[in-house]
């Protein structure tokens, strides 16, 4: 039963049952547990830029997901200051954020930067009338119910002092600093402990059936 200990910092420690019995006495365990709790609580209450919100902590080095076109998020978000929700328009009204249709790309790129190799590749897809086979980077298991809609309502639209231009900071809670990435890759663990810490800090719902289905 104690083969895998899920510690509150999100690290998974593998240790045998014998080790637990002999060395990890309850008092020691409590000490480690409380120390980690204090640490994580301290990190969780660090001052954040977005008001009325505590971003969850924890990192995870995800593998690079090769995409058909190396989409430069930094050019769009950081240089050209395009709102995340301009392309990921479903985030505010449905469970999934979705990827934009090629027509949305072509709305700008039929006139902008048409000589770049990536845009030429995109135009090729567009003229062949087939969508680029984008691959999903951030995914949660099938037994998890997650809606972007409600999280955006809480942290973007119902968040006092939050300007809609800053929405990328809210997205960065779970998606990492996409602003400075080219192709998006997973930097947050997106596991249950990760969700829990944020729900604890922001007093989100705690019912199992709220998220598990």
């Amino acid at each position: 039963m104690f083969n895998t200990l899920q510690l509150p910092s999100g690290h998974i420690t593998h240790c045998g049952a014998r080790f637990v019995n002999r060395f990890l006495t309850p008092s020691l365990f409590l000490l480690v547990f409380s120390a980690l709790l204090v640490l994580s609580a301290g990190a969780a209450h660090a001052e954040s830029v977005v008001p009325n919100a505590v971003p969850p902590v924890g990192t995870h080095d995800g593998d690079d997901v090769p995409q058909p076109i190396e989409f430069p998020h930094n050019t769009h978000v950081d240089v050209n200051k395009i709102n995340c929700m301009y392309c990921h328009t479903y985030a505010r009204r449905s469970p999934v954020a979705g990827i934009p249709p090629t027509s949305k790309c072509m709305g700008c790129h039929s006139v902008i930067a048409t000589d770049k190799p990536r845009i030429k590749k995109l135009t090729e897809y567009w003229e062949n009338k087939e969508p680029p086979p984008w691959r999903k980077v951030h995914d949660v298991p099938d037994y998890v119910h997650f809606t972007h809609e409600k999280h955006l309502k809480r942290f973007v639209f119902d968040n006092e002092g939050m300007e809609v231009e800053n929405v990328s900071e809210v997205c960065a809670f779970c998606h990492g600093d996409v602003k400075n990435m080219t192709v998006a890759h997973k930097v947050k663990p997106l596991n249950m402990g990760f969700c829990r810490r944020c729900h604890e800090a922001n007093e989100g719902p705690f019912d199992c059936w709220k998220c598990h289905k």
Partner: protein, 290 residues
């Protein structure tokens, strides 16, 4: 979920039962099933199979008691009337039907026996089953007086939906793994989406908005589903829900383990309420000419 959460669940229920009102709950989803209207057509059962990704186990496993129907129609035959003509094996009135799904007991017998707290009570008054936490000890099934919990004895996901049938699976809930207990959830995925929608619009959930698949499909509208906490409120002029109206009309109350059966107009009862499980499903007795 831990021991403290279970204790909180129970103390919340006990406190609200003594106060009379269940005000600490967000909702109290309940049902009223009119057996006068039920024709035993099994449409509710079929709808449940379609909605909740239930595998069809086949005759062999069914006969072993390994059926997976969250909603079942039970048949009860009266004593055959062996009067002058002894030709009829069965009573001329036919069978009595009773649709049985999880009764969502408030004092659920399945909850305290779970060794890993995989089943617990939500603030919606639902008896929840968390599949990821279930270790398949089957204590809950053994402790359920209604026999309405079903166990995945086999890896049904491997062969219950041969291609392309897996395309008809409902993405709103998971396909259960082998060794996991499951049961009727009052279509919690529908309740969840309705609550999300209501919250996005900043309004309370309307009556009839949340509708489980069985109630939706019933051709005679024998199954009525709604929130048992929505009574008529003269201050806000908010109407009471249809299900509350039926419970009140038949003087069935949450937390009342016995019905007064003197008045033949009062047909309401709950199954095995003498066990004090306090179910959320009320049945209206069938009336027939003798």
């Amino acid at each position: 979920m831990s021991l403290s959460n279970i204790l909180e669940d129970w103390s919340r229920y006990r406190k609200d039962r003594e106060d009379g009102g269940f005000h600490d709950y967000e909702h109290m989803w309940g049902m009223a099933i009119d057996l006068n209207k039920c024709i035993g057509c099994n449409a509710c059962s079929v709808a449940c199979y379609a909605e909740n990704n239930l595998p069809v186990v086949g005759r062999e496993k069914f006969s072993k008691g390994q059926a997976m129907h969250w909603m079942r129609i039970e048949r009860y035959w009266d004593e055959p009337d062996l009067g002058d003509d002894r030709i009829s094996e069965f009573n001329q009135h036919g069978a009595n039907f009773i649709p049985m799904n999880c009764q969502q007991c408030n004092a659920a017998t399945c909850e305290p026996v779970c060794p890993v707290a995989a089943t617990y009570h939500t603030p919606d008054g639902l008896n929840a089953q968390v599949y990821n936490r279930c270790i398949g000890s089957r204590y809950c099934s053994n402790n359920c007086p209604y026999r309405l919990r079903f166990f995945n004895f086999y890896s049904y996901y491997e062969d219950a939906w041969p291609a392309p049938l897996e395309m008809q699976l409902n993405p709103d809930l998971s396909v259960r793994d082998k060794g996991v207990m499951e049961k009727c959830t009052f279509c919690v995925q529908r309740i969840r989406s309705v609550k999300d929608k209501a919250k996005m619009d900043n309004r309370p959930v309307a009556d009839g908005e949340a509708m489980p698949a069985c109630a939706q499909t019933c051709p005679t509208s024998a199954i009525v589903f709604g929130d048992l906490l929505k009574h008529y409120d003269p201050d806000t002029n908010a109407p009471e829900t249809k299900v509350t109206k039926m419970w009140r009309a038949h003087q069935v109350e949450l937390g009342k383990p016995r019905q007064n059966k003197q008045n033949p107009e009062l047909r309401g009862y709950r199954v095995f309420e003498g066990l004090n499980t306090d179910p959320c499903v009320m049945f209206l007795e069938r009336v027939r000419e003798v």
